[in-house]
Symmetry: C2
Subunit: 104 residues, 2 copies
């Protein structure tokens, strides 16, 4: 079964290309997390929020990562980090064209 982690938090800072430049090394590190299929990086300059949608191939790695990433975000000065965990309904997601395999 596949699990989805939905994270967002208030973000007063850089967006877009500047965000992409600043977090290349972090993204490379995250790409190697055990159990992670993919992460989509999200941002909203208008509402001053950022976050990520993560797809994991097991729930234990998701919980391990969420604990690690929350501490990292807090160390960067972020607070009010909102996280939700879901299982993926794979038959319905297949009908709506979702790719649950990742580019690895």
């Amino acid at each position: 079964m596949k699990y989805l982690l939905q994270v967002d938090f208030p973000h007063e800072g850089i967006f877009g290309e500047k965000m992409a430049e600043a977090f290349v090394e972090l993204a490379k590190d995250i790409a190697n997390e055990n159990g992670l299929i993919w992460k989509i990086w999200t941002e909203n300059e208008e509402t001053k929020e950022a976050g990520g949608i993560y797809l994991f191939d097991n729930e234990d790695d998701l919980h391990r990562y969420l604990e690690k990433h929350t501490k990292r975000l807090e160390s960067f000065g972020y607070s009010d980090i909102r996280a939700k965990i879901f299982s993926v309904n794979e038959p319905l997601s297949a009908i709506t064209n979702a790719d649950l395999t990742g580019g690895k």
Copy 2:
């Protein structure tokens, strides 16, 4: 630019296979939404929540769909529907193996 719509709501009902059976026709309909690249169907039987993560290829179709889908969910009896809109940081998402193209 690609846009991500994050929707979740309290859900006291069916999950898993039963959800998959009940919503096949709705999923086929959603798959044909203009501008939609994919939808991942999410559910959490423990917290009694469900939702969806949607990837759109433009912001106008996302807003149109969100209005339509919110009305539909309300017509099904759902309330407290939480929606967040983000743009996708594509360079960082590519590093973390996200597929932003869909299976269409």
